[in-house]
């Protein structure tokens, strides 16, 4: 029997049982669609993380001071002295807190960060209009502020905020600069904050030392040595109490995030694979029913000279046709699904073409694997028994 003839026979048989075919296809369809949608989603979120990481810069470190009291706090001078460590380009100590900001009758709660001028280089966060916090502001505890774009829009609408006076926790501050838009990062929104000189912030929040320091490293390759030197210096300052501070490597954070992402995706893929296997079992089930139902047909075909391989081929092709069409439809459904998820979550999704190919081939393989058992069962029927069956 020729190949094309076999396919024609299989299509005819599959077509004449539309409802059953559709139902058994559904399992494969859902499986393939899940794979495609999940891979698309995973790729999308991976791309997103990579973008965020790029915006953060991998050449930064952050130090968090967790200790309390004078013995375990870091003074502004100590923090600035860390810049002397080799390979450290700039140090940006911050003190932060929450405050209510009021302009005329509008008020809002924002994060207030006390900074030095180095904040601009270290965090790559500049102003779009006005000026930055200058060293003189820090030295003289000036009441000047930089305002984030979202907060500015909230308080001033479309008006230019530079030069306006706002009340931060009741104290009057002059806005000297409007920060550029930076969007959200891992630590929250960058556009809903107010930056003031660190000395002013220390007074406002009644804070003796600094609570966190962002550090920019010159040479990324010497990151490990720099971290070691930094920790040594801090250990000396805190007199051997290594529980009062934490050095946080941005790169580590990124890696952790990526690996979490990866684990999630792999898990989802396993789930999708299980769905496909379940779909395959569905196809096998239907094919077994079909074999039993068509026992007499098999008997007739055998009495007319069908060889075992003819019958085997016939049922195998039917299984592959069912799962193949299911797979093809699943790819379509998966594309639509990942688009829909992307729109619903506001994230990008992208389906790599090789995933589509793999999913389709896999669904056809599922057809073969789960078709073999019923097809073999059919081909082994003895013609005399099969003919007698009714």
């Amino acid at each position: 029997m020729k190949l094309s003839q076999g396919f024609r026979m299989a299509f005819k048989s599959v077509w004449s049982n539309k409802l059953r075919t559709a139902l058994s296809m559904l399992g494969i369809l859902i499986g393939v669609a899940t794979v495609i949608a999940l891979v698309g989603m995973g790729q999308g979120s991976k791309n997103q993380v990579e973008q965020q990481v790029a915006s953060l810069g991998t050449n930064s470190l952050s130090v968090t001071i967790t200790g309390r009291g004078t013995a375990t706090s870091l003074s502004l001078e100590d923090a600035l002295a860390l810049a002397d460590i080799s390979n450290i380009e700039a140090v940006a100590p911050t003190v932060s807190g929450n405050a209510t900001v009021k302009y005329e009758k509008t008020s809002t709660d924002v994060t207030v960060e006390g900074i030095t001028g180095h904040y601009e280089t270290v965090n790559d966060f500049s102003v779009q209009s006005g000026r930055y916090i200058a060293p003189v502001d820090v030295r003289n505890t000036q009441k000047v502020a930089l305002i984030g774009v979202d907060t500015a829009t909230e308080l001033f609408g479309s008006d230019d905020p530079v030069g306006e006076v706002i009340a931060v926790n009741g104290s009057r501050f002059t806005i000297v600069g409007l920060l550029e838009s930076k969007g959200s990062s891992l630590t929250g929104s960058n556009d809903e904050k107010i930056l003031i000189p660190i000395t002013t912030a220390q007074k406002m929040f009644d804070s003796v030392g600094v609570r966190s320091i962002s550090i920019k490293v010159e040479d990324l390759d010497r990151m490990d040595q720099t971290v070691a030197a930094l920790e040594a210096s801090l250990l000396e300052t805190f007199r051997g109490d290594d529980s009062s501070y934490r050095v946080f490597n941005q790169e580590d954070a990124v890696e952790t995030l990526n690996s979490v992402n990866e684990t999630m995706n792999t898990m989802l893929l396993y789930v999708a694979a299980i769905t496909l296997v379940v779909g395959g079992i569905g196809v096998m089930n239907i094919m077994l029913v079909s074999v039993t139902e068509r026992t007499r047909e098999i008997g007739i075909r055998k009495s007319l000279g069908a060889k075992r391989r003819d019958i085997l081929f016939q049922f195998l092709v039917e299984a592959v046709v069912i799962s193949g069409i299911g797979g093809a439809l699943g790819i379509g459904a998966g594309f639509l699904g990942s688009e829909a998820i992307g729109i619903a979550n506001g994230t990008d999704t992208s389906v790599p073409p090789q995933t589509v190919a793999i999913a389709f081939v896999f669904s056809a393989v599922v057809g073969v694997v789960f078709g073999i058992f019923p097809a073999n069962k059919a081909s082994r029927l003895k013609p005399v028994d099969a003919l007698r069956h009714d």
Partner: protein, 254 residues
């Protein structure tokens, strides 16, 4: 024993068929011998349970004998592989079943093409051969009808056409009139007779003596043993038909 002429189409010698049912072994055919020559029209008659269906399955290569020898067109069938048996069924035997055994989803023409598909013939040749066979049974007009759109007699004629399509040396008919009324049954039998006159070798299995009468030669199956009617063993070629009286008696015995 039955003559061992070289040109015998079917030559069965001391054939035994046993089935294992649970712990018991049932012997259905107890050393049966039969020869069928080209152009013969042989009827195997017997009551139900006599083993004639098993006989037909063995002759049709649907089942394999336990012991003895079965030569079909000079080839020993016993011990052949499934594939070889399928090949023999395809090339040497045309089946005509009691229940027609047509595939309901295929048209008359497609049903007739089926054995030719398994022979691996190209589509055009298949179509021609199937058409010729259908015209031979007088169904040239209804080739695109499905079995459900045909009467019982027409269905059986499609089945006969299917059997004829491959030009097999033997037509094996198992109760061909069993599912038909008197009149259409007679028509189908006339068709079979006509095919015999045209040179086809026919083996007909039936329990109905009236049907068996139409055959040129009758053998009786009883309890797994075969009895050739008197005087036939040596002279079956010379004598075309037994006197009716003898056959009548056989029916009563059966």
């Amino acid at each position: 024993m039955i003559g061992t002429k070289q040109d015998a189409l079917i030559e069965i010698t001391q054939l035994v068929k046993q089935y294992v049912m649970g712990r018991e072994t049932v012997t259905v055919l107890k050393g049966v011998s039969l020869s069928v020559y080209p152009g013969d029209f042989v009827a195997i008659v017997g009551p139900s349970g006599s083993g004639k269906s098993t006989m037909m399955n063995v002759i049709g290569c649907l089942d394999t004998p336990t012991d003895g020898s079965y030569k079909l067109d000079g080839t020993e069938v016993r011990g052949l592989s499934d594939n070889k048996l399928a090949d023999i069924r395809n090339k040497k035997i045309g089946f005509i079943f009691q229940g027609f055994h047509l595939l309901p989803k295929l048209t008359a023409l497609e049903n007739c093409e089926l054995p030719l598909i398994y022979r691996g013939l190209p589509a055009k040749q298949r179509r021609e051969m199937a058409m010729t066979a259908l015209e031979q049974v007088g169904l040239g007009e209804r080739v695109h009808h499905r079995p459900s759109e045909l009467s019982g007699g027409q269905q059986q004629r499609v089945a006969i056409a299917r059997a004829l399509a491959t030009n097999p040396p033997i037509l094996l008919a198992d109760e061909p009139t069993g599912a038909l009324d008197m009149k259409t049954g007679q028509e189908v039998l006339s068709l079979i007779e006509e095919l015999n006159r045209k040179g086809h070798t026919i083996v007909l299995i039936t329990h109905d003596m009236d049907v068996a009468k139409r055959a040129g030669r009758t053998v009786v199956m009883r309890d797994g043993e075969l009895t050739e009617t008197v005087g036939r063993r040596e002279t079956h070629e010379a004598q075309p038909r037994l006197p009716d009286g003898v056959q009548e008696r056989l029916v009563e015995q059966a």
